[in-house]
Amino acid sequence: MKFLLFVILVAALLAVRIVRRRRAGGTTVATTAHGPSAARQYFETTFGDIGLVAAREVRERTRGRIYRVGTLLMLAVVAAAIVIPTLNKKASTTPRVGVVGSLAPPLRAAVISAGSEIHVTVHLVTESGLASAEKDLRAGRLDVVVDGERIILSQAITASDTSTIAEFARNLSEGLSTLATIAAAHLSPAQTSALAHPIAVPITGLTAATTKGAAQGTSIIGLILLFVLLSQYSAWILLGVAEEKSSRVVEVLLATVTAIHLLAGKVIGIGAAALAQASVIVIFALLLAKAVGSDVLQGTAPVELASSLLWLVLGYAFYCWVYAAAGSLAERQDQLQSLTFPLSIPMLVGYIVSITAASSGNASLFFKVLAYLPPTAPFAMPVLVGLGQATWWEFLGAAMISVVSTVCVARFAAGIYRRAILRTGRRVKLREVLRATS
């Protein structure tokens, strides 16, 4: 969370600085071509252009219906994923147990103990007879009936049933069995009391305990979000570049700004809008989970959250250039699908393999290799972190590889963009662009 706030703060400060510089520059066009003023002018022009293009992208993107509806839709899906399990849990957190006849202290202790073992509170009801207890059970007023040494449910359970009531019934069965065994042994009250309150034997491990289960859950949710958001943001870049080309506005823009500044502004602007959306979703999820007491995000350590967000940024940074280059090759919107299909394969492979690894809780050597490859690392590395199978230096190494690869990919993609964006009339072939000088 702190990391996220830090990123937002830095982005806001940079935006303010750019705007201030731009305003200070005003309409002045310096005539000095040498010395510090020339360098300053270059700096101001460069960052001013990129800032203006980025600001337009943010404004147009966040104003669009697709952005607003998409954000609301994702918030609704996230809310459902968090709230629905909570509703189910609440319905079974307080098993209503009807006890036929008297409620002796050992029996009360056994029933409460059966609930506390699975972290639920039990509501006890004394029933005058079996008939009325069964009637309440059928009517849904009770979940479990205890009649002497019998446990009655509205429907029998199977061995694979892991619902709260099933777990509770099994625990209660063991507890009542113990009570019956103690009673059959004819022990003294002191012995009975000692058996009823056993002292737990300590369990220790060679290494400290981890929150693996929760982390696994978080990894899967994070993965799905990463895939959805990365796919969406890459599509924004693709469509944005293709729209500028097909509407021919790019020729007007490139008469004023350089291709690399235009592209950088676009990438940063769409990235900022994307990060804002992702941040809203994550903050919403955390706040909602806390408010409704959901355990979906329990065990989400700040480092895991920061890891997912960092890889979202790194993944976007890597893929956005590639998709921008693809967008510059298209003449019409209907050509985009065939252009981007090959680009989506590594993303899909990374996602599917990572989901499999997160579900099984095992990271194979192949999967660990994928965590270092920039196209698949945005999915694989957060899973490794979630499974506790990545050290800080492995994480840093993968991030560094991704950053360096992104710089190389950006240079290559910017070259393609510069050569292809003004070629109109038909779809541009990559081979032609690589051979061309301009």
Binding site: R22, R23, G25, G26, T27, T28, V29, A30, Q41, T45, D49, L52, V53, R56, E60, E243, E244, S247, R248, V249, V250, E251, V252, L253, L254, A255, T256, V257, T258, L422, T424, T437, S438
Partner: protein
């Protein structure tokens, strides 16, 4: 010294095709220069070269004697042949954005946007999306986009294409006003009558090479001298047929069109006409620009 755009020896090849072939001409400030040529002559390529939208194999583009760089281009305005605006962006915001990309402050860009929308008669469309406008109004917005930052030079590729006479007049008036205020204007068009009315200078190219350049007056009066003579009640113009150095080109509506050889004295022709009767019309005839164009390319 008046600012001037100079194109020197521009050469650009696309594979085996030479789009620009050592092309040289200039666009002085305060003048409207018509840039003419048949389709595929290299006009758009030339304009793109001025804005650095393609690399030149040879040659250079100079502004006031210095190589044109990005910061000079910010002071130019450009209206490309294939109109380019963001379809879903609001008209006013789009103009402000383009003005700011040219280095204007936010307030200056907003004021200039309002001025040009008003000047071009579409002030009420400032908050409309571009794709909601008619073709003519989109054309006006495109022109405003090229003018919003108060350029020192404006280059327009086919600005009159697809416009009705009212639109042509409106854009023509703006171009003339810009030139009067000291702005250099270079524009291409196939509507030669409009070019003749608007331009002081024309440059004609073909196959990427300069064919002819000069003032419209000089080009119209250049070549063979043409004389129109009307003699009262004379329908045959027999008096002109045996004059040395004179060729009868056409007799129509009681007037005869004569083509004079370079050495022919027009006063001798006048005296011959007076001997035939009362001369009611005697004038040199200008060549239409379309004739100059066809002759240049023939």
């Amino acid at each position: 010294m008046a600012a001037v755009l100079e194109l020197r020896g521009l050469t650009r090849r696309f594979g085996t095709l030479t789009a620009l072939d050592n092309l040289t001409f200039s666009v002085p400030s305060g003048q409207v220069v018509g840039f003419l040529g048949p389709n595929g002559a290299g006009k758009t390529t030339t304009m793109r070269a001025v804005f650095g939208l393609l690399d030149l194999d040879e040659g250079e583009v100079l502004w006031n004697g210095s190589q044109v760089r990005q910061e000079e281009r910010r002071r130019f305005g450009y209206m490309p042949e294939e109109r380019g605006l963001y379809p879903s962006m609001l008209v006013g915001e789009q103009l402000e954005y383009l003005g700011r990309l040219h280095g204007m402050s936010a307030s200056d860009a907003a004021a200039a946007s309002t001025y040009w929308l008003d000047r071009l008669g579409i002030a009420d469309r400032a908050t409309s999306r571009v794709d909601a406008l008619s073709h003519g109004n989109q054309q006006r917005v495109q022109l405003a986009a090229a003018l919003v930052h108060g350029p020192e030079l404006i280059i327009l590729d086919e600005p009159l294409a697809g416009l009705d006479p009212t639109g042509i007049d409106a854009i023509g008036a703006v171009l003339a006003e810009l030139a009067r205020s000291g702005c250099g204007v270079l524009f291409s068009s196939h509507q030669l009558d409009q070019v003749e009315d608007l331009c002081e200078t024309v440059t004609i190219i073909d196959h990427g090479r300069l064919v002819v350049t000069g003032s419209v007056d000089d080009l119209a009066m250049g070549g063979e001298s043409r004389l129109v003579v009307r003699v009262e009640d004379d329908r045959e113009a027999a008096w002109a047929r045996n004059l040395p150095g004179v060729t009868v080109s056409e007799i129509a509506a009681g007037a005869v069109r004569l083509v004079l050889a370079d050495s022919t004295d027009s006063q001798a022709v006048l005296r011959a006409a007076e001997r035939a009767g009362v001369v009611t019309e005697f004038r040199f005839e200008r060549r239409r620009l379309s004739e100059v164009f066809r002759e240049a390319l023939s």
